[in-house]
Amino acid sequence: MAIQKPDTMFKNIDHKPPRKDWMDVPADIKPGRYCYAAGPEPLEYVGMPNPRKWDPLDKDWKLPENWENTIITGMKERLEKYRSFKIFMDICVRCGACADKCHYFIGSGDPKNMPVLRAELLRSIYRGELTTAGQILGRFAGGRKLTEEVLKEIWYYYYQCSECRRCSIFCPYGIDQAEITIIGRELLNLIGLNIGWIAQPVANCYRTGNHLGIQPHAFKDMLEFFCDDIEEIYGIKPEPTFNKVGADILFVTPSGDVFADPGTYTCMGYLILFHYLKEEYGLDITWSTYASEGGNFGLFTSHEMMKRLNAKMYMEAKRLGVKWILGGECGHMWRVIHQYMDTMNGPADFLEMPISPITGTRFENASSTKMVHIVEFTADLIKNGKLNLNKSRNANVRATYHDSCNPARGMGFFDEPRYVLNNVIDTFHEMPQGTTKEQTFCCGGGSGLNAGENEEIRMMGGLPRANAVKFVHDKHDVNMLSCICAIDRATLTAMVDYWVPGVQVCGVHELVGNALILPGEHERETDLRGETLPGKEEE
């Protein structure tokens, strides 16, 4: 009888290979978990090393000659340039506090997705190649040599880290895997090991100002297309200005808001708000086609590339002669602005201290960088009663809020978005503690990993977030996941569609746009998505 022979059918997965040390288990690059390699064109365009056509599944990665030396020298150099890197290489005690905090580990169960092990991949090279003890004692001191196998492993797993920093807050020494990943990827880029989904946006952004390579006229067309949509709903057409010299404020937002649903609705929200401020208070906010990208995929490439892309914002603000810069809803863009921008491309002495011309509030917290987050800007307007809001136009919405990783753990931006939300919607429910604020879970697609081909790892990584959303969806009938990040809006949409059907994703300013009453508007039948408002159903 067949049933008397248990466990035969699934022997291939039930069977445990003899236990091996992790250093002896080479990476098995699985489809669905890796992103396609960067082709030669984008690398050539921005002058990155070793541009060529290659495939991670091939045996030969077409590495440059003497690549080992390039990496080792690169590590040495970075150990001197970044105290963070040096300390994080030296002091980990492998206590395991971070091990089960990574969303990719929680979802996939791949042991090398434990943050500690992800770091050890690089640390073992550091010990084996750069410390005396490791060079003499080798494996006993936890060191190993840099081989092609090891390099592939590092590439595979460093593009399975979304630089979300969740592990870092549980580490007793503040070891930040995001920082190690950033430097690890920087090293990989020295020998041309980038992924297409990062390299192409970087090159596009460098050339046209935004990730998609939208040319200036098309960028303008897109926004005007939104204005037409708004006119249909409100009966009023906003008239944004572009590249306007002498405007009060320059506005920069991720281009995802301009091209990808549901970010486009958030973009309409900005347009409505700016139109309102122009009509009511005469505030002149301009968009730039040159600096038309807030997001900075340079952060996922190298510090230098981050600086090269970020430079456009100050350059454009200077050229246009604006007072200060307003930034849209974006996650890693704000990590760059908050923690890198001023240091890299400042001081912004050509700009003024950011003061809201409408409320007179001085944004003391942005006094040096001179860049204000649109959510704090709006929160201040609401606090001072400067916006005419009607919550009932969000009556369809039962929202929760996803703290995007970078504004959470790279800024501490928690109460501002919640304040705005509570003023534009009636129904708001927090997700359970341990999944929000500084402990928030990543969407699964941060740091340039929101590609199409790595869908499985994105879904696995998104599960912890989705699971918390499902809880409030089941318990409180929440149907909207709001957030302040363009990558979130793109990634979470597919992610909740898979895990928690029935929940949509939106930016905070989409809800602001819905609630804001424009002077002279006609009565609204639908919200920005064209969905009929309650009580407006046709008889």
């Binding site: 105290r83 503040g174 920082e179 006229h217 010299v245 240091t343 001081p347 509030t361 501490g412």
Partner: protein, 342 residues
């Protein structure tokens, strides 16, 4: 395997001391020369390591923010978890270094009966880590009575407090019990939890076994294999006053204890144990989170190649004019100097 290697290494060290100080009678080597070298190696090694870290630049302020940032006056700032002032940073570091704040963050959330949410915590690691570190400190301080004459009152008091259970003679130290419990917890979780076993290296087991060796030899000496305390004190006082002597009658167990401590001191600066110094320098914890308010300067900031507006306009001028976007130069002229600049 990794654990067994480390265990054998510690046994080998014990054997070395037994043969060296016992059989071969090299008491001066094990009682004076090695301890002196060990202290020297520890102090110099520790300093070199910290100076090495200090020499590395801090190009960016990459604080991990674990609380509400300084914002409007009407939003409550979390001054400890996301400090905007030096005092806040000092507070944050105090909680981190003395109370292991981050390890304490380990809350687990459970749902009971489908509705009620309960926040239980999984803080065993925190508890045993903190027990280990503090008892270790107590034990180190308690040993000061071997290096001081007369013994200052605080050390006497500490000694009395530690022995306040008044069990046995000589009285049992509470710290002996706690540190053994904590060490075995830390060891067992590495051995028994598969994920911990997977990430552990020989250099994780070795210091554990070494410290266990130190503790056990210490306990043996005090409670079981009685040694001549006065002779030991003579030796230790000789060491600190730089008039080293090796009195008769000190059991070999003492030399094993001392040798293991010496090895620990040698090993310290080149190992993960340097987290003791590193925790103070960790850039994600020891910096303020208000980078937009106070500019941070990168000492090696250098100019980079950027794509200028002029180069951009040159490429797209025609289309921009067609779309009614303002341009700086009219269509006919091509701007000079429109190359990408440094």
């Amino acid at each position: 395997m990794k654990a067994i290697y480390s265990l054998f290494l510690v046994f080998a060290l014990i054997l070395l001391a037994m043969i060296g100080a016992g059989t071969l009678g090299m008491e001066y080597l094990f009682g004076v020369i090695i301890p002196y070298l060990a202290v020297l190696a520890f102090v110099v090694g520790f300093m070199l390591k910290v100076i090495g870290w200090g020499k590395s630049a801090v190009p960016f302020r990459i604080t991990s923010t674990c609380g509400q940032a300084k914002s409007f006056p009407w939003i409550k700032e979390n001054k400890l978890e996301n400090p905007s002032s030096t005092w806040g940073v000092i507070g944050r570091m105090f909680f981190e270094v003395f109370l292991f704040r981050s390890l304490f963050r380990n809350t687990k959330v459970e749902i009971h009966d489908g509705q009620r949410i309960a926040y239980s915590s999984s803080k065993w690691l925190w508890l045993f880590a903190i027990l280990f570190h503090y008892t270790f400190l107590v034990i180190v301080l308690r040993h000061m009575r071997f290096f001081t004459e007369p013994v200052p009152y605080p050390f006497v008091l500490l000694d009395r407090l530690d022995g306040m259970l008044q069990i046995g003679a000589p009285v049992l130290y509470i710290s002996s019990l706690i540190i053994l419990a904590a060490l075995f917890y830390l060891l067992l979780r590495r051995l028994l939890i598969p994920s911990m076993r997977y990430i552990s290296l020989p250099s994780d087991y070795f210091p554990l076994f070494l410290i266990i060796g130190v503790v056990i030899t210490g306990i043996l000496m005090r409670y079981f294999l009685k040694t001549d305390i006065m002779a030991i004190k003579e030796l230790s006082m000789g060491l600190v006053t730089f008039r080293p002597v090796t009195p008769e009658g000190i059991g070999v167990i003492f030399f094993i204890h001392l040798f293991l401590v010496s090895v620990l001191l040698f090993y310290f600066p080149i190992s993960k144990l340097m987290h003791m110094g590193g925790v103070f320098l960790s850039p994600t914890r020891n910096m303020t989170g208000n980078t937009r308010m106070v500019r941070h300067v990168n000492p090696w900031n250098y100019p980079v190649k950027v794509h200028t507006y002029d180069a951009y306009e040159d490429e797209f001028r025609e289309k921009m004019v067609e779309a009614g976007l303002p341009v700086v130069k009219p269509l006919e002229e091509k701007s000079e100097n429109a190359e990408n600049k440094e």
